[in-house]
Every structure is written in C-alpha cells, then in structure tokens.
C-alpha cells in the first residue's frame, strides 16, 4: 500500500484505491475491507464514487495537496454518503458538512453520520446556502455533485463559504444541464462561467468509462 501524495489517508496498491478507515468493522455500502498490519482499509471504487473515478483516471488536482487531516469540507449533494464516508476517512481531525435535500437518500447519510463524528448531516437545499451558513462557516474544500440544471449557479453561491485559496471539486453532469447540447460544449461553457466567476481551473477530466457524460473540475478560489 502506497499513500497518495495529494490526499491524506488515501492509498493505492497498484490496482485499487483505499481509504484508511475511521470506523473499522463497518462497511458503508457493501465495499470490501482489507486489513494490513492491524489497520483497516476500505476499498474505494471508481464505479461508485466520482472522486475515486477522477483519481483512478490519473487526476491529481494539478499536483496540489488539497487538504490535510484537519480540513473542513463542504459537500453538496451528499446522497447516501458513499463518497462522504471516504472523505470522512481522510479528515479525522476535520469536518465534513454534508448537504443533501432528498429525504430518501438523506436516510442513508444519517446512518453514516451516526457512526462518524466528523460527518455533519444537513438536510437542506444547496440553492439556499444562507440556510446552513451559521453551521458551516469556512471550508477548505467545496465538493459538489448535485446533478441539477443550475449546478454552476449552485457552486457560485456556495463559494462564499470557501476560504480564499481553497479548492473546489465539481462533478458536472452534462445530461442534467442541457440535453440538446453536446457534453463537450457544456463543459466548455461551464469552464467559461467558472473563469468569469473568478475561479482558476487547475484540472479537468471526463469520467468515462466510470460515469457517462460527466466531467470533473478542480478549481481554486483566488
């Protein structure tokens, strides 16, 4: 197992990605767990997590270590907490504010949060960041995977909670935005909007074959 330099507590064994578990003995979504030298690692599948897909495809955030073990992460579109649980593994001294609006998936997220003290579940609409402002404060990383038509606007309005110099990770689903345009055109427009909004784009990747018509953007708030 070799540690990944750009993220804390993430490892690779040449084939697969793992995170060093914060809650040994628990699988969150049926993922495999392996023990090495008394430590438990959870398999992190690129098919289940867009961040894992980005890393598997060679993405390294433009060579930058984007967080450490004490980071605070604002995660929009937390769903049932699959990727959330892996990020939770990475930040034992930090926090992850997990925003999810759909009651159906929020149930699963609540289960994840109840065994992980660093996951703070918020059943809120990411279109209204002011509703969770008093809870969140300042984040080092803003992660967004919301599959909504206005996903770029959502990112922009939540960026107020990202500290200057902080990193934004954006999983962009082209199909949610405009089905009459080609995914490439949509990515291009999204990139233009982000740059206009003052962000620097550090890296971007399309997530095929793990996700169809998805791109992953790594951006920085100046």
């Amino acid at each position: 197992m070799r540690p990944l330099s750009v993220l804390p507590r993430v490892f690779e064994d040449g084939q697969r990605l793992y995170t060093l578990s914060l809650a040994p003995g628990w699988s969150v979504y049926g993922e495999r767990r392996v023990s090495r030298r008394g430590k438990e690692y959870r398999h992190w599948s690129p098919w289940r997590s867009k961040l894992a897909a980005y890393l598997t495809l060679g993405g390294r955030f433009g060579g930058k270590r984007i967080m450490d073990e004490g980071a605070s992460v604002l995660y929009l579109g937390a769903a049932s907490g699959t990727t959330v649980s892996h990020i939770s593994d990475m930040v034992p001294e930090g926090r992850i504010y997990a925003v999810e609006f759909s009651p159906r998936t929020f149930r699963g997220l609540l289960d994840v949060a109840s065994v992980r003290d660093n996951v703070f579940p918020l059943m809120e609409d990411a279109r209204h960041p002011e509703r969770y402002g008093p809870v969140v404060g300042e984040a080092d990383v803003l992660y967004q995977d919301v599959s909504q038509r206005d996903q770029i606007d959502i990112l922009m309005s939540n960026a107020r909670y990202l500290r200057p110099g902080g990193t934004g990770l954006l999983a962009l689903k082209a199909r949610s935005m405009d089905i009459s345009l080609s995914p490439r055109e949509i990515y291009q427009r999204a990139a233009d909007t982000l740059i206009e909004g003052g962000f620097h784009i550090l890296d971007h990747k399309e997530l095929a074959p793990y996700q169809k018509d998805h791109a992953f953007f790594v951006i920085r708030k100046p």
């Binding site: 926090r95 009651p103 929020f106 149930r107 609540l110 949060a113 109840s114 003290d117 996951v119 703070f120 579940p121 918020l122 059943m123 809120e124 002011e130 509703r131 969770y132 402002g133 008093p134 809870v135 404060g137 300042e138 984040a139 107020r160 909670y161 990202l162 500290r163 200057p164 089905i179 009459s180």
Partner: protein, 376 residues
Amino acid sequence: MNGQPPITLITRWYGVFVVEGERVIDSISFPEDPGEIAGRLKALSEGKILEEERELAGRHHPVGVTEERLTSLGPLVETAGAEIPPAVLSSAPDPSLLHQALLEEGRERLGGIRRDELLIQAVSAYEEMNRVCNLMYERLREWYGIHGHRLVNRVSPEKLAELVGVYGSVDDIRANTSIDVEKTASLPGEDLAAISSFALTLREAQRERERLEKYITRLMGEIAPNLSAVLGPILGARLISLAGGLERLASMPSSTVQVLGAENALFLHLKEGRRPPKHGIIFQHSYIHDSPPWQRGKIARAMAGKISIAARVDAATGRDISRELREEMERRIGEIREKYPSPPVKPSGAKGGKKRRGRGKGKKGGGKNGRGGGGR
C-alpha cells in the same frame, strides 16, 4: 455611523455575536444542549429570526446584518461568507454538540412523512402486482391448457385462477360448478396439484392487486380528490409518482404534465428534431386512447390543463371542485370531437389552412424542415 467600522450581527450555531471590526462587543450563547441547538437550527433554516438575534439588535440599535433573513433588524452590510472574526470562532463549544444536534434535527425532519410518498410506493407496488398477475396468468393459460384448453378461453383470469386453484381437474370443476367443458388430455394428480397450487398463488396476487387498488383509491380521495375525479385514482396516482409528488405535479406547467411519461420521445424531439409527443401517461385514459389519432393531441392538451388545475387545487386547498372540472373537460372534449370528426386532409391544404398547423408544409413552400416547431 459613517466612517466608523460598522457593528454587525453574526449568528453561529452556538450563539449570536455583535462584532465591531475584529472585536466581539456583545454576545448571547445558546444553551449547550443538542435539543436547544437543533430547535434554533430549524428556525434558521425556515428563515425565522431568533429571540437572541432580536434582543441583541435591540441593545445595539443601528446594527448591520449579514444575512437576508435579518434585514428587518438592520441594514444588510455584506453577505455572510467565510470571513468570521477569530474571536467568534474561538468561542465555539465542542463540535460533538453540533453533531448531536444535527443528528437530532435530521431524524426529526425525516419523521414528517408526506402522504404522497406512501401513495408513490403504493402505486408502484400496484404496477408491480399488475405485471406479476399478467405474467402468471399467461403461464397458467399455457400450463393448464395442456389439460383443459377449452376452459382457458371461456373464463376471466380471476375465475380461471380460482377454479383451477380450488378444484384442479376439469372433472372436478364440472362436478362442483355449472361450468361444462370437456378436457383436452388427462393428467396425473401430482401434475395437476402443481398447476393448482400455482393457480392459488395467482389468485392471491390478483386479490392483492385489488386491495392495493382500493387502498390507492382511498388515499387519492384523501390527498388529491380533484385529480382523482379528473383522471381516475390509479392514473392520477401514477402521474403523481412520475412527477415525484403532488407539490411537484402542481408546480409543473400543464405542457409538461401533458407529456409526463413520454420523456424519451420528448428528448428525441429536443435533440434530434423529431415531432413532439402529444401525450405521456395520460394516453392511458380512455378519453385519449379511444379517440381517433387526429383528436388525441387536442384532447391531451385539454385534459392536461384540467389536470394541472386539479393538482393545484389539491395541493393548495383540498377544496373539491371535481364536478366543475369534469364538466368543463367533458364539454371541451365534446367540442373537439364535433369540430374534428374526420382526419385532416393531408398537405395541399387550400381550405382550412388556419386550423392545421404543425406540418406547415404548404405555407413554408416545400421546406422539408417543417417539423421543428410542431408543438404549437
């Protein structure tokens, strides 16, 4: 006020602070109890003003606020963002308190189950039972047909399942009922018993489907009586399910309602310029599928309008206007049927040009792209 560093009100999950520059000049902390904090987070999320905020704003009269929510207490100086003075941050209690509060608050929010969520599950269960019944009935026909082919075509699916389930062989059916059919081929008791057991299971599945239908009818009468009257309970429930809830159905434009369930066709229209779908799931209503094709689009449009009104009334008031809605809808459908009794004459259209749109070939003078704007 001008020139001075303005004093501002800052609310965090653990308290409210009055800040001048970097300095905290006054504050009220929330009780360090998860329930107390959960209650305040709920109020914040609903856009309410906390007592503590009101009190501090009163004490420090012209105070700037940093959230839209608080603009009744003072002028908005800047939108709250990441910049929180260190003095405010450092007074935060142990984060496990927030963790506890959010878990409590989250559980409470999930507690409020909407009735339409139950309806959506029930109508999906109904559709699944329907598929199961059809599949099993097909099998029973073939299987029992080996022994009593004549019976299979003479009785309803329910009756067939019951007769085969209760009596088994054609001889026993004849002996116990007034049904008189001859058998096709004899079968040993063991083989008949297997078919008979399968038939009983089918009969039970059919009963479950009926029970679900009654339950859905009752639930629809409760949460969406108008929609139920306009479309029928099952179809109405399926529409709610497709929309993702009564609220959402009510907030959709009726042009969307008209094509709900025809998403594939709609996307092909938007992407590749094929002709737009005339109707989605509402096609299954007999008003549409029993009408001739050239009337269907018009009827679908009229129905979608009434469906939207019905859903909105159901979502907003629960008042019963189903009689009026039904009458208006039937009147309009009658009009359509009277006005368009025969299929439209294809292009060359010299006479009724103003009524027939969509194809637009005659007018555009041979432009072959006359289909794009067919929606109106």
